[in-house]
Each structure stands twice: as C-alpha cells, then as structure tokens.
Amino acid sequence: MDLNTKYTPHSWPDHPESATLEGKNKFLGFWLFLGGETVLFASLFATYLALKNRGPSGMEFTTQELFELPLVFIMTMLLLTSSLTSVYAMYHMKNYNFKAMQAWLAVTVLLGAAFLGFEIYEFYHYVHLGFTYDQSAFSSAFFTLVGTHGLHVLIGLGWITLLMLRNTKRGFNLYNAPKFYVASLYWHFIDVVWVFIFTVVYLMGVIG
C-alpha cells in the first residue's frame, strides 16, 4: 500500500475502512473479537447476578444502600455523549475532513476521561465506606464487572489518543482509516456494555 497517495474529498472512497483487503480483514476480525468480548461480559454479568448482595453473615452492604443514581446518571450521560461524538468523528473521516475528525475524537477522549474520573471517585467512595474488594462475594463481583468495563474505557482512551498523536501530521490514508474505524467500534462497544451495567447493576440494584 502506498502511503503517499494523495486523496481529495472527491477521490476518497466511500468506505475507507474497508477499501483494502487489510482493512476488510481488520473490520471483520474486530467485529468477531467484539463477539467474544460480549460473551466475556455476559459471563461477568451472570457471576454478578449470582453473587449480588451475597456476603458474610451480618453484611450491611446492599445495592439499595450503596448506589446513588444521580452520580451514575451523570456518568451515563458522559459516556453516551462520547459515543455520539465518536460517530461525528467517523462521519468526518468519511468526508475526508481530518481536522474535524481529530477535534471530535478529542471531545470523545475528554468525555471518556471525565467518565473514568467519576468512576474512580465512586470506587474510592465505596472503599472509604468499607466496601472493599475483599469484603464479600458481592463486592468482588461488583468491582470485577464494573472494573473490567472501566479498564476497557482506559484502554480505549489510550488507544484513541495514540492514534490521534501518531497521525496528527500525516492525515488520512487507507492504512490508518481502518485503525480509526475499529477504535470507534471498540468505543461503541464499551458504551453498549455500560448501558447494560447501568440497567442490570444500578437500576435493578436500586429497585431491588
């Protein structure tokens, strides 16, 4: 593949992410990987539901007492919005507007980082209350499920940031377009998992 090929918005392919065989492979391989990730999170959800509110006799922590929806609502809004901004970024990639894409990716990263900040605060708060990782089966399951999601957010942030920095000067080509595209797929996936965490862990936790 020739990285020096210059494109115009007119000559840039409609689907730059799958315009080459490498791109097609990456696109399909990443979708399949997300299929495997789905099963991974499904296993963690099942474990959480089996161990929810379970602990040593006399444990005082329950989902109703622990979770506070206003905080989780803010986190949800941040992450959902970041998914939207990553769509804008991909929209501009298809239109061959590199600066606009970078700008929207930067917004995505900032929103994701804010989300992660709130999550770290939330975990710190629980640990401060005595709800530590080794306190009960419930606490282990909660921190493992939500923490695995948080780790995905962290990896996603690092990944998108690296991509932005690496390509700042050279703009689009058919080698990096699939990379941006699968990173945005990953980001959407993280968002979808959070929707399930919000519903299954927090909403169903508060309702009881």
């Binding site: 097609k24 391989g29 495997g36 099942a46 161990l51 379970r54 089966a137 690296l162 080698y175």
Partner: protein
C-alpha cells in the same frame, strides 16, 4: 525458491523462526511444541498406569499422583491436542482455499507465542514448588484451598495460552471468510476447512467464559476476592458452569478438525468424492451449535433439579444424530471406492469403530438417571478416552502421516507407520476397553491406589500392559520421524498420487508466497477436476503474474508474550514476595509497550516483484 533450501547458520534459522509470520513455519512451530507436550503428557500417562499396575502400589505418593493426573489432562487437552490441530490448520487451510497467507500473519505468530509461553509457565510448576493438583477441571471447591502455587500456575498459564487460542480462532475465521480464491464458494470448501471454520467459531464463543472463570480463580487465590468462598457469600458452582460452558464446546473444538482430517483422508484414499458433502457440512454446523447447549450434562449430580437435567439430557442425545450422519457418510464414501490402505487410511478406518464405541457410551451417560451410577467412575474415564484418543489422537496421527509430505516435502516411512498404527490401536483398546468394566465394578476415577480385596487387580494390570503398547507405538513413530528427517528424500507435488484439493496442486517445496498466481476454483475437489481434464499445471489461474504483497517478519509477538510470561510470576507471588507487584508491573509494561510499538510503527509489508517471480528469484529478498 524456498527459504528452507537456503543454507543458513543456526542463529539465523532461530531468528527466522522467532520472527516468522509465515503460516507454514508457524505450523512447524506448533507441530514441534505440540509434539513435545504430547510426549510429556504421555510420560505422565505411563506414570499413572505404572502406579495402578498392582494394588496398594507405592510407586508415587497420593499427592504427587494428583499432580500427575491433573497435568496429564491439562497438558494433553491444552498443550498437545489443540496446538497439533492448529499446526495442521496452519499448514493446510490457507493452501486449501487458495490464499497466500492467513488474514493476520502477525496475530498468527502472537497466538503461537502466547500458547508457547503459557505452556512453559504451566509446566514450570513441576520445578517451582509443585504442579496443580485439583484435576484438569480444577473445581473451585478443591482448588481454592489447594496449598502451594500449583493452581496459580494452572490459572495463569492457561490464561496466557488461552489468549493465544482465541487469537488463532479469530484469525482462521477471518481468513476463511475473506481470503478464499475466486470460485472457492462456501460449498466448495474442503471439509477440513469447513471444520476449522466451525471449530474457530466455537473457540471465539467458548474461550471467554474460561477467561472469566480463570480470572475469578486468580483473583480469589492471589488478590483476596471471594467468588468461590461460601463463608464470604461466594458460590463454587459458578466455576463449574463457567468451566463447562467452555469445556463442552472444547471437546468439539478438538474433534471437529479431526473429523475434517478424516473426511479428507477417506475421500482421497477411496478415490471418490466425499459422500453427502452438503450433509457433512450441515452436520458440522449443527454439532457446533448443539455443542453449546449441553454443558450441564457434566453436572447432573450437582443438584440442578430434574427439569434442568431432563433438558440437558435430551439436548445431549440429539448430538448423536448429526454425528451419526457423519459416520454413515464416511462409510458410504468408502463403499464402492477403490480403496488404498495407506497409513492415514488405516487410522481413518480404525477411527470409525473406536469413535462409535465412545459415542455410544456418551449417549448412555446422557441419560441422567444412569449417569448417577456412572459419574466419577472409570466408566467415564473409558468413555472420554474413547472419544479423545479414538477420535482426536487417531485423527492427529492420521494427519501427521497425511500432511507430512505437504509440510516437509518428504514422506514418513509407510511400513513403520503401519507398525505404529497397529501397536497404538491395539494398545489403545487394550488399555481403555477394560476400564468400562472397572467403572461398572465401582472403581472411582482419580484414586491413586486400590486394595487387593476389591477385585480390580487383573483389569488394572491388563489396562497398564495396554499402555505399554501405545508407548511402543509412539516410540516407533519418533524413530520413523528421525529417520525420515535424516534421509530427507524429496517427494514433490501430490505425493499420495490421489490429492483432490488445492494444497496438493502446489509445487513442492511450497514457495513462501504459496501461489505465484491465485487459482480459479472450478468445483469441489478442484485439483481432481484439473487432473481429470489433463491439466499438467494442476490449476486454472484467476490472474496474470504480478507483484505479490508480503508481510514483514516481526519479533514483537515474541516480546508481547514474554511480557505476559514475566508478569504472571509477579501475580503468582503476590502477597508473598516484595518483588511481586513490581514484576507484575514490569511484565505488563513490556507487553503494552510492545503493543504501542506495533500500533505506532507502520508495518506495510513488501512486494515481490513480477520480474523476480518470472526469473525464479522470488525466494531471495
């Protein structure tokens, strides 16, 4: 032409294999490593049979016996059978579909090195304070309170090698979907490609539950979590479910590619088109689907209740139907064929009655009430050795003889191959047939010895003598391999004379770019069609000769896997050694730095130019 033909120093060859992204060389790496672990697992099996040779034997102590049976099972499944299958998949599948390489050559190398370091890590437990001792299933009720670090080695080692397997699975799925040559429609794919495809899909969905289960085990044992500790609200049944949601598809991940190898062999040496090709494809897909619906039949006695047991019993029995379809199709492929009894064909013919016997006892156990009688007895041991040795291992040995000329351009000695077959085949039945009756007589599995007055002496002795025959067969095989390599007589293209599919149409030794021109596939068994029409080149081409794009070699996969290997020691000694967390951090930094390097550094590959292909200089770059 081939890089094998070039004279190279040992260091250069080693570096070549450490950095290679060529599926044919990765196949050889899988074959060597898998073969090594097969021998290790075999030695463990012999130790088991020596211990059980006579009553009240004290050849090994009870604790060591537990470690040996655990490592025998774990090694054979994860470190021998699967890598050997991956070896054949890598060797044959890209050639069968007319591709120049797999979809992700870099990931192919990463998958191998993760498996390699995971396997080494697991086996280092023998030298670092004791091997895992809770059985290959490592039920949490036993495993969380096992003293020492054995279980930690198990969980971390399988986590690393399991990651490699998942990567390999995704790679083969994408390869088969995206990289097929023009004309290679899904319903023209050779059966081995089809079974690789379905097995890879099973890997994709079956390995993540194992990943989660192993993480829960790691967190419980090394980082203070309480998933399995019932005094802290935990529940050990979670492990059983997660393990078997992985574990049952796993047996299909093993057997389906073996079915594929046998399908190729039956049609090649019956010199007939595979009978009921489309039914075979459908049966393969159906087995793959049903394989996910039956995990709880391993847990009938756990106490899930009659309704759950009934559902899983019926689902399990249903798998016998597509499997039966396959058996009859193989028989009918031979029917009326002009059969040549080569070594691979002997294995294939021997496989049918052996595997059917294992299948029949499987249906017996699917009946939940009967399973209460058979559970945890030697009947179970006999059953799963009939399907795994009678199915998978016979398939591997058949594949080894069948694909050896494809991989090495020389042929294993047929006479010695047949001696291996008869020693191994007779030894196998002698060892395991009698274990059905030991089970019915009440002998529980995993006991390290038994009393003189229990009436199990003679049957155990017969079983142990049978194992000696199997070992003798493997020794003849090793001698055969050494002699074949020493002689190294080139055999050229289509060495069996009856190759039907594309991999046999390529000139030998296979050029590192596989196909100078991508072939046009004109039907099922495309090479057979070309041969029938008198095409001496063996292929119709889909393109003129042009530049070929090739991937660059890379050491990064090796470093990435090495980082995980180093980090695993940190996790293992967490809370015990002051250097544990720094080492864990160091390992992860190595891995993530390698990933970042891969991401930041462009890897565009290179081109072999048309002129070099035309004047046969393609191998020099």
């Amino acid at each position: 032409m081939s890089s094998i033909a070039q004279k190279k120093g040992f260091g250069a060859t080693l570096w070549d294999y450490l950095t290679t992204v060529d599926h044919k060389k990765i196949a050889i790496l899988y074959l060597i490593t898998g073969g090594f672990f097969f021998i290790v697992g075999g030695i463990e099996a012999m130790l088991i049979r020596i211990q059980l040779l006579k009553p009240d034997n004290d050849f090994v102590a009870a604790g060591l016996y537990n470690e040996i049976i655990t490592m025998h099972g774990t090694t054979m499944i994860f470190l021998a059978a699967m890598p050997l299958l991956f070896g054949f998949m890598n060797a044959a599948v890209p050639l069968q579909i007319g591709a120049r390489d797999v979809a992700f050559p870099f990931l192919n190398s990463l998958g191998f090195w993760m498996f390699f370091f995971g396997g080494i890590f697991l086996n280092l437990s023998w030298f670092l304070g004791g091997a895992p001792d809770a059985g290959w299933t490592s039920y949490a009720s036993l495993a969380i309170s096992s003293p020492g670090h054995g279980i930690d080695f198990y969980a971390l080692g399988l986590q690393i090698s399991g990651g490699g397997t998942l990567i390999a699975g995704i790679n083969f799925l994408v390869t088969i979907i995206n990289m097929r040559a023009p004309g290679m429609t899904y319903m023209r794919m050779p059966l081995f490609t089809w079974t690789t495809f379905v097995a890879s899909a099973l890997i994709l969905f079956a390995f993540p539950p194992l990943t989660v289960g192993l993480f829960l085990m790691i967190f419980d044992r090394m980082f203070g979590a309480n998933f399995f500790d019932h005094t802290m609200g935990g529940n050990t049944i979670i492990w059983e479910h997660l393990f078997w949601i992985f574990g049952h598809p796993e047996v299909y991940i093993l057997i389906l590619p073996a079915f594929g190898i046998f399908s190729e062999i039956f049609s090649t040496f019956s010199r007939k088109r595979l009978f009921g090709y489309s039914a075979m494809v459908f049966a393969t897909v159906l087995i793959g689907f049903l394989g996910f619906m039956v995990w709880a039949h391993h847990m009938f006695t756990t106490g899930m209740g009659a309704t759950a047991n009934a559902i899983f019993a019926v689902a399990t029995m249903a798998i016998a139907v597509p499997t039966g379809v396959k058996i009859f199709n193989w028989l009918l492929t031979m029917w009326g064929g002009s059969i040549k009894f080569t070594t691979p064909m002997l294995y294939a013919v021997g496989f049918i009655p052996s595997f059917v016997a294992g299948g029949v006892t499987g249906v017996m156990q699917a009946s939940a009430p009967l399973d209460y009688q058979l559970h945890d007895s030697y009947f179970i041991v006999a059953h799963f050795h009939y399907v795994i040795v009678g199915g998978v291992v016979l398939g591997l040995l058949a594949g080894l003889h069948y694909y050896w000329p494809l991989m090495f351009n020389t042929m294993l000695n047929e006479a010695m191959g047949k001696i291996t077959f008869w020693l191994f085949f007779l030894g196998f039945h002698l060892t395991f047939f009698i274990q059905h009756f030991l089970g019915l007589l009440g002998m529980p599995r995993r006991v390290f010895t038994y009393g003189e007055d229990q009436g199990w002496d003679l049957f155990n002795a017969i079983s142990s003598y049978g194992a000696i025959f199997m070992a003798a067969g493997v020794i003849v095989l090793v001698v055969n391999i050494v002699m074949t390599i020493a002689k190294n007589v080139p055999v050229g293209r289509d060495p069996w004379g009856d190759g039907r599919t594309l991999e046999w149409a390529i000139p030998q030794p296979v050029p590192f770019y596989n196909f100078k021109q991508i072939p046009l596939v004109r039907g099922l068994d495309t090479y057979w069609i070309e041969k029938q029409e008198g095409n001496v080149e063996g292929m119709t081409y889909a393109e003129p000769i042009g530049d070929i794009h090739m991937p660059n070699n890379s050491i990064i996969p090796f470093i990435m896997s090495l980082g995980l290997f180093v980090g695993a020691f940190g996790a293992l000694y967490n809370g015990e050694q002051p250097w544990a967390i720094p080492v864990l951090g160091l390992g992860l930094i190595i891995t993530f730095a390698a990933m970042a390097t891969r991401s930041l550094k462009d890897d565009l590959g290179y081109h072999i130019h048309k002129e070099d292909l035309l004047n046969e200089k393609g191998g020099k770059h």
